[in-house]
């Protein structure tokens, strides 16, 4: 699985967990799930976009 796929899977699992943990009604759970999932995915993509502009370092030596 790609790194993006793993990130999506991770965000999905965490979002479902906290939506069920913190909210009781299905409507509230769906709303919190979307907030958490989109927040994590969007935040990661924005951070990646910002880091893309930074100069890359040489590869680290293998110990």
């Amino acid at each position: 699985m790609s790194h993006f796929g793993l990130m999506t899977l991770y965000a999905g699992l965490i979002s479902v967990f906290f939506a069920v943990l913190w909210k009781r009604s299905p409507r509230q759970q769906v709303r919190l799930f979307l907030q958490l999932f989109l927040g994590m995915m969007g935040g990661a993509l924005v951070l990646a976009w910002l880091m893309y502009m930074l100069p890359s370092a040489p590869p680290a030596p293998i110990p």
């Binding site: 793993l6 991770y10 699992l13 069920v20 943990l21 009781r24």
Partner: protein
């Protein structure tokens, strides 16, 4: 949205009066929740939530292992390893089984090593949150 609306126990009038101390049932539920992810909620009658929580914690652990992530162990002169180990041990029987039964350690040169390590630690931390949730439910602080 106010804080009161965010609380899962909203609408429970007089909830403070119903809060109990940590009794034997709460301790048993908490220990069970730590040992078997989701079992504490199941014991308290929250079966649907137990299935969801159990599935998520086990899924995190399985994905972490399939990616060959590190199963943290205590290391001398490395305080962070102790914190990470305590977090990983939160998954209860999953951690114990992987470490002491199957001898799983992880593979540092695997492509998914860092992701796998994150999933394994997350499984433990999520289960520790479940233990606290079970304590709150058993004490009547949460529905």
């Amino acid at each position: 949205m106010t804080d009161a609306e965010d609380r899962p126990t909203e609408g429970n009038e007089g909830e403070d009066a119903a809060v109990e101390g940590i009794g034997p049932k709460a301790i048993a539920a908490a220990v069970l929740a730590w040992a078997l992810p989701g079992a504490g909620h199941f014991l308290l009658g929250k079966r649907w939530r137990a299935v969801v929580f159990s599935t998520i914690v086990v899924a995190c652990a399985v994905i972490g292992c399939s990616l060959h992530g590190r199963l943290d162990v205590f290391k001398d002169n490395d305080p962070l390893s102790k914190i990470a180990t305590l977090a990983s041990m939160g998954s209860g029987v999953i951690y114990m089984g992987l470490r002491f039964v199957s001898g799983y350690q992880g593979n540092v040169v695997a492509a998914g090593f860092e992701y796998g390590t994150t999933f394994l630690r997350t499984a433990g931390i999520l289960n520790l949150l479940l233990v606290l949730d079970v304590l709150d439910i058993a004490r009547g602080r949460k529905s």
